[in-house]
């Protein structure tokens, strides 16, 4: 299995024959006329190249620079996000959660892997893994510490377990030191992890425009 990375992580053991088994299944389904190979290519291309956390970052940056947009986003996230043309599968019913100086939101799906695809793309392995799913609800502060985020005791941590068809996007706090950045420059700072709620948005030490 070519994985393109060297360190150990939680892929568990992947039987080496999965490549062959999936290939055989695909051939069978194509031969039976059940699937179209070009449709498979289009689906993969969409999530590898077109849909991902850059979408969500644009939503966040807009909310930071435009108060009226932020209000729309917090009131009806599905419609506000659709203003960018981001909609559909696994983002049909969106909710935006605002992080503030006193409230920190964190998103999980303890039962499977629910995640807001139109704004964040497909979830990373850790989000779908047993360690994150099991601990996010019982020990959110410990989980955040593992991600390098130590929250003061007086901050309220709200964990959102995605048990239904609502999909959650965290609106991170706009970082200090970013006052002069443009919307596009702000969007470039917004990370996937900040929109899940396991990180804050940081202004890099270098590269801050004055």
């Amino acid at each position: 299995m070519s994985t393109g990375h060297s360190h150990e992580h939680d892929h568990q053991e992947v039987p080496s024959d999965l490549t062959l088994r999936v290939k055989a299944l695909e051939s069978l389904l194509v031969e039976k006329g059940l699937v179209d190979r070009a449709a498979l290519d289009a689906l993969i291309d969409t999530y590898e190249h077109k849909v991902g956390p850059r979408n969500g970052a644009r939503v966040v940056a807009r909310a930071w620079v435009e108060a009226a947009y932020k209000k729309r986003l917090l009131e009806d996230a599905t419609s506000a996000i659709a203003e960018f043309g981001f909609s559909g599968r696994q983002g049909e019913h969106m909710v935006a959660l605002e992080n503030t100086a006193t409230i920190h939101n964190l998103v999980v799906c303890t039962l499977c892997s629910c995640y807001p695809w139109p704004v964040l793309g497909l979830p990373p392995v850790w989000y779908k893994s047993a360690p994150y799913r099991s601990r996010a609800v019982i020990d959110p502060r410990g989980v955040l510490r593992e991600f390098g985020l130590e929250l003061p005791e007086d901050v309220e941590v709200r964990v959102w377990d995605s048990t239904a068809e609502l999909r959650y996007l965290v609106l991170p706090e706009r970082p200090a030191g970013a006052e002069k950045l443009s919307e596009d420059e702000l969007a470039a700072l917004v990370t996937r992890d900040a929109m899940i709620g396991v990180a804050k948005v940081q202004v890099p030490q270098q590269g801050v425009r004055t």
Binding site: Q12, K32, D161
Partner: protein
């Protein structure tokens, strides 16, 4: 069902292992099985709840051992066979049965952007008014359905507060078993961390869980 998939609150699952610059798919087969699931789903022989349930039915030891997309492989084979799109012997031989009819794909490349952009709405109109109001105290029912449910074990029997009303949605417990959509109101319910996990939890923190009406009772 009280399966291993319902893992909120479990211990000893190990550290969270992150990967810098993680690719969307780690191998070609992962992308192919992801896409095959979507393309076969377009036949509408099953629904999203049945798809989730099929993964829960993977035996616990296998569920924990398998990678995410290996579970998608198992799920697709089981659903395709069970719903008559493919015969078990065809999976084994890798060839269509002699004389079997050739279908026309339900999903073509041209339709992909549209089906993704449209998605599938799970919301429904129902005649009943919501049973609970924002701010009202509720208790998650202490039930243990043996089929699919989206009521996590860690919340059962616990006291919460209605935080928000989301509207009415298809009920997964029945939909997963093709017993009807049984649409009903869904609420975001706030559970104090201490109610769920005891006095060692933070007095400030809370878990918000989306709950169908059938999961709740007045408190």
């Amino acid at each position: 069902m009280n399966g291993v998939h319902d893992m909120g609150g479990m211990h000893a699952m190990g550290p969270i292992q992150r990967e810098e610059n993680e690719p969307v798919f780690h191998a070609r087969w992962e992308g192919r099985i992801f896409a095959l699931n979507a393309a076969m789903g377009a036949w509408r022989k099953w629904n999203i709840d049945a798809g989730r349930h099929q993964i829960e039915l993977i035996p616990a030891a296998d569920y924990l051992r398998m990678s995410y997309y290996e579970k998608w492989f198992v799920r697709l084979v089981e659903l395709a066979v069970r719903h008559g799109l493919v015969a078990r012997c065809e999976i084994e031989s890798g060839k269509p049965e002699p004389g079997s009819a050739r279908a026309t794909p339900a999903l073509t490349a041209e339709k992909v952007p549209k089906i993704l952009a449209n998605g599938t709405l799970a919301s429904r109109e129902v005649p009943e008014a919501p049973r609970f109001q924002v701010g009202e105290k509720v208790r998650a029912r202490n039930i243990h359905p043996t089929g699919h449910t989206r009521l996590p074990r860690y919340a059962r029997g616990k006291l919460g507060t209605i935080h928000r009303h989301h509207g009415a949605f298809v009920f997964p417990d029945t939909n997963a078993r093709f017993l009807g959509e049984k649409p009903q109101h869904v609420y975001s319910v706030r559970f104090a961390a201490r109610e769920l996990w005891g006095d060692e939890a933070s007095p400030r923190d809370a878990v918000y869980i989306d709950m169908w009406d059938d999961y709740l009772e007045p408190a």
